[in-house]
Each structure stands twice: as structure tokens, then as C-alpha cells.
Subunit: 382 residues, 2 copies
């Protein structure tokens, strides 16, 4: 056996990966475990999406390599989507890079801009992949605190007083996962000022803006944002297409070209049929979003009751696929979630999966039917 | 604008990317350029492939995230395919990793095993991505010579006498692109001995073994190969599914697990419908290969005549999607290909795209219809 690269010494197995293995074992032992831990949409995409893919398969010459930048129609559809929903103008020719999921974009962007030893600002709590990708490239994750008292926004003033000389990039993610905190225009403005002041590339990872949120926002709506900011977006949550692997990166031509240099050396273009499905999704009319959120709202009501049953407090006005709830004082997240798993056969995510500032919180997923959530509630209250 | 990472300083734009832009410009100017430079299969996949994807779209719950390791049925189909066609046993549970194309596997494997400064043996001539990925990770490409006199096989004896202390990996690719040289069992045996002697991880990139070749071989058929070898394979050429992005990595559980550690931090699993299409392809009966090669054989006859018209010599017994032809003595590859482009409106690849040992050679693609090749021949001989 050949030894692995040093970069893998920093990469631990994902908490969910270990825990879900345990869940599968419990189920195999006959335990009726309900999983409300994971944010994988269970609903179907718009009908038009599968239809577009099916129709494509009737055409000729659709099976060959595709351009790294996607077909022009896809980039046009993305530009249209950004104009219509975020009031942001991006040029379809050179300010958009379609991706096979926004997750791969995290690696592409990091490879494009980070040298070993560069520092990267990463939210705590936040999506664990920012940290693992940074580590994989020999760059240095520097956590910045998000706390409830500050609406889970970064304290940029405090951050400015720290030594930022080695910081090259900053990950932000609003609406924020796991807390559901929604961005304000002022937050984005301040982030852009901060980025320009410290010459930091700021990336807003924006997959949740249409879920339980009527006012989708993009960091690119701020004047001059493109000089220092990129935005990642995805069809996974907005159109229930997580498995299709369609994401996108938006920003200045210069930054997009740099990322494309990496991408073109790492993979190839997206399957033509999937691009056609994505185009159909992006053209969905407003009813799609309305109906989707009716479903999530109903589910969320039950999730609130689950949080109540656990004695939690929570902010009702949050976006995204989860309810983020604060446990009664003194309770430890993994103690509570393990207890729920072993005594009530309910699996949900302890806040600590997302960093130390998640201690004392749990995350309830809305990606299961109402009946399932009701079943969980029943187990906790009977 | 934020400065790009140093790793991108080594990465030049792909020759084809620059040249194809020029070809597009020429076409826009009204020139009737015929492109026989690129190895993107123009034929359709087996009927069963699109049908499997279409049928999948009628099912429920197919749109969510998929496992990084693919569905068990896909791994079973790959194991079956390897047993049937290569007489190689790989365990579907842990010796197979489905990939979104074998190209992404080059990055995954390199990230999994290479530290900055490690050396990597890379064939000259060979596929340029081995070099660019190695550079992107700060590892050091060390070319090894392939020459016609040695059937485009590496001179392992000579290589053993060089300082290999920093070499961690070696890329091999048989049937070889661009030369079409077919492997022998003895070659693979010698490579495994070499790899064990020098503790080098050897990866055979094996996408061409079914094209114009009745005796597909895998490096994993050698006893004990899994200790030091991995194999990459792909459906792109074998089943005309280049745009679908389906590849696979095969090897020992330990090596596969290491690569999976990288992959799980970089992307997500493959679209369920594409996995079903891949399964259908892998189960194709023997007629698929026979019929595919009937088409390529006819095309190759005309490609031979094109080579004749250019005064070239060539080996007729080669595998893969190309004819690799030696120019008359003293002729430079890019001089000839530029002349063909500007005077005959024919684009084909100069051997130097693949390294300095490609000087004096050209590569003619078989990925265009017979009529198109006949048109090229006509232009050169009229």
C-alpha cells in the first residue's frame, strides 16, 4: 500500500458519515429510527425538469463532451434567473460558470486563489466543507464567530482588529446554514467594504435563498461587489435537484476565468440533458416557489412543536431547510441528540457538527413529510 | 481583482482550446474547416442507455443526493464488466469507486497521494492532463520517454538507473494515447515489478481498450497488482458516453478508501439516472463492441489513406480512436498541421501536443463519419 498524502491527515470522516452508519446499523437491528438530521430535499423537481431531460434524449448528438462553460442557453437562463429574482445583472458570456454542484465550486475556487499557508476566514458555526477543503490545500482555516446575539452575523469591527495580513479569502453563507439567519443589504454592504479594505476575496454561498424566504438577496447586488466577491448558487434546494449536481459561480470575468483555468484541468462539461433540465428549472414561474414554501411552512410548524417538546427556544423568522433551536441551559448538544437516538429512535443533528459555536443547539431538518415529523412529535410527547 | 494562486502559473491554456478558438474564427469567416483533431466520439451510446435514464425519470425519489460510492447495482455492474471482459475480480463493495468521468479521477488520485515536491512519472508523449494536475498540486512531473523503436513502451531498465527516490506515482496509459500502442501481459508484469521495487503507485488509465482492439487488458490482471496499482476506466469511448461523465477507479480497498476521502470532500454522488444509464451500458452484449469496431475500422481505412497522402508511415495494428502517423523525415508537426489548416481547411493534432516525443508525428481522429474523412482525403489528393 502506498502512503496517503499529508493533506489527508487533517481530514476527518464527516460526522454524518459515521453517525449515519450507526443509524443504518440500528435500523438493521430492527430499531424504527426516524432521520430528521439531513438536508437532502425529499420533494420532486418541477415536472418541466424531467420532461426537458426526456425530450433531450430523443435528439441526436447530445452524448459528446460539453464545453467547460456550459451551453450558452444555460448561461442565459442563469443570467435571466439572477436578473429576475435578485435584480442582479451578470453577463452570460463571461460572468457565469455552471458547476456540477456548488460543492465542487468550493474546491475549484480554493484551488484558484489559495497558496499553502494562506489564511481563510470561515464561519463558526458553518458548513464543514469550507474547512476540509481549506485543509486539503494546505491553507489555514481561521474561524470567525457567529453568535445569536448578533443575529449570527460576523462582528466585522472586531475582525478588522485582528491580524488579517495572511487572509486571502472569506466564506460567508447567507441565508446561513445551520442557523437560517437571513442577510440584510447592510450586511452585504459591510462585507464588501471589509473585503476591499483588507483585499480579501469574499464568497457568498447562497443555496438557501428561496426556502422559507420571500426576499432572496445576492451579495452581487451591492455596487462594486464583483471586484472582491463571488457568489455560489445551486439548484439543489431551490428546485429539489440535489442529485442532479447543478450549481453555478457568478462574479467578474477575471475571477471566473481564473476558476475556469482550474476547472478545465480537473473535469469536463456537464451532461447536455442535465443542462436542459437545469434551464427548465431556472425558468419556473413564481408559483413554484410559493407552492414549495407552503409545504415547508406546514412542516416547520410541526418542527417548532418538536423544538417546544424539547424545551428549546428558537427564532421563527429564519430561512432554509432547517429549524435551529437552542436547548435548555446547560444541555449539551450531542448528549441530547444521542439520547434522542437511543431512547426515542430519532436522529437529528447536534449543533456542534457545524463548529464549537453550535454547542447548545440542535438542527431539525424539514426534508421529511409532515407525517414523519408528526410521528417524531408523538414519540417525544406521549 | 484578487490574485490567482501560484499553482496556476504553471498551467497554460490547453493547446486545443487555443487552436479550436482559431478554428471557430476561421469557420465564422466562411472557411469550410473540417476538424479531425479531437477524440470526442460522435456515435450514439447503446439504445438501452437512454432508455434506462428515461425509465428512471418515471420513478419517485430519484432526485436526491447520491452516495459518494454510487449505488450498489452500479458497482456490481462494474465488477461484472471487469470479470467478463478483463478476467479481473474486483470486489464491488470496496474495490470500486465510480467517478464523474475518469478525468476527475486524475485530480482525486493525485490529491490523495501526492505531497508538494513529490515526483510523478509521466509518459512523453501522453495525455497533457497528467502534467497539469501534477503541477496544480505543486508536485513535480518527470517525463519518461516513449519511442517508436520500443513500441512506445517505457524503458524500465533505464528508468531504474535514474534517481527515483522522490517518485511517488507513475501514470501509464495502455492502450496508449496518442500512439495507440497496445499493452502486453509482460509489460504489465514488468510495470508491477518496477512499482514494487521502487514503492511507486502505478495508475493505468485504460479508456481505450475496447476500441479497435479484440484483447482488452487490465493491469489488475497481474498477480499482486492491487498492492501497487490502480486502474482508471471510463464509459466515454467504450460506450460513446463522453458527455455523460461516467468513469471508475479500481484497486485495493486501502487505496480506494484514501481516494474516497478526497472525493467526499470535493463533490457529491452521481445523478441516479446517469448511474442507471451506466449500468445498462456495462451490461451491453458482445455485439455492441463488434458493431462499434466495424464502424471504426472503415473509418480507419480512409484515415490510413489520408496518412498515405501526407507521405506518412504508421503502424496498422494499434488500438484507440486515432491513427498516429509519422511524417516524412525532417517535417515538423505544427508546420504540417498549420499548413493543412490554412491551405486545405483541415484541422488535425500535431504530435507535439502530447509532448516533445510527439515531434514528427500527427494524430488523425476517427470520431467523424466516413464521408467526412473521405472529404479530407479528397482535399489532399485533388
Amino acid at each position: 500500500m502506498i502512503t496517503k498524502a499529508n493533506r489527508l491527515q487533517h481530514v476527518k470522516e464527516y460526522y454524518f458519515s459515521t453517525k449515519l452508519r450507526e443509524v443504518r446499523q440500528l435500523i438493521a437491528q430492527g430499531k424504527p429510527v426516524i432521520n430528521i438530521g439531513i438536508g437532502s430535499p425529499d420533494l420532486d423537481p418541477p415536472m418541466s425538469v424531467s420532461r426537458a431531460l426526456q425530450q433531450t434524449l430523443e435528439k441526436n448528438h447530445i452524448h459528446g463532451y460539453q464545453s467547460y462553460q456550459g451551453i450558452p442557453e444555460l448561461r442565459n437562463a442563469i443570467a435571466y434567473f439572477y436578473q429576475r429574482h435578485y435584480n442582479v445583472t451578470v453577463h452570460p458570456e463571461n460572468e457565469i460558470l455552471p458547476l456540477m454542484g456548488s460543492k465542487e465550486g468550493i474546491m475549484h475556487i480554493s484551488m484558484a486563489f489559495l497558496n499553502p499557508g494562506d489564511e481563510v476566514l470561515i464561519p463558526n458555526p458553518g458548513y464543514p466543507t469550507y474547512t476540509s477543503v481549506t485543509n486539503l490545500l494546505g491553507a489555514i482555516p481561521v474561524n470567525y464567530d457567529l453568535i445569536e446575539e448578533n443575529n449570527w452575523f460576523p462582528d466585522l469591527e472586531k475582525l478588522s482588529k485582528t491580524n488579517l495580513s495572511k487572509v486571502k479569502m472569506m466564506w460567508v453563507n447567507y441565508p446561513h446554514m445551520p442557523t437560517g439567519s437571513k442577510p440584510t443589504k447592510k450586511l452585504f454592504e459591510q462585507l464588501i467594504i471589509f473585503a476591499k479594505q483588507h483585499q480579501v476575496l469574499i464568497i457568498n454561498d447562497n443555496p438557501y435563498s428561496f426556502i422559507l424566504n420571500d426576499t432572496p438577496k445576492s451579495i452581487l447586488e451591492i455596487n462594486g461587489a464583483k471586484e472582491v466577491a463571488l457568489e455560489l448558487n445551486s439548484l439543489s434546494k431551490t428546485f429539489n435537484m440535489a442529485g442532479w449536481r447543478v450549481g453555478m459561480l457568478l462574479g467578474s470575468q477575471e475571477h471566473i476565468t481564473t476558476v475556469l483555468q482550474v476547472k478545465s484541468n480537473m473535469d469536463s462539461g456537464m451532461f447536455y440533458g442535465i443542462q436542459q433540465g437545469a434551464i427548465a428549472a431556472l425558468k419556473s414561474d413564481i408559483n413554484w416557489f410559493v407552492n414549495l414554501n407552503i409545504v415547508y411552512k406546514k412542516r416547520r410548524e410541526i418542527a417548532f412543536s418538536i423544538a417546544d417538546a424539547l424545551g428549546c427556544t428558537y427564532d421563527k423568522d429564519i430561512a432554509g431547510l432547517f429549524v435551529w433551536a437552542k436547548l435548555p441551559k446547560g444541555k449539551k448538544a450531542t448528549v441530547v441528540t444521542d439520547e434522542l437516538l437511543y431512547t426515542h429512535n430519532v436522529f437529528l443533528a447536534p449543533g456542534t457538527v457545524f463548529g464549537s459555536n453550535g454547542e447548545g443547539y440542535i438542527r431539525i431538518s424539514l426534508c421529511v413529510p409532515e407525517e414523519t415529523l408528526a410521528q417524531v412529535l408523538n414519540r417525544l410527547t406521549k
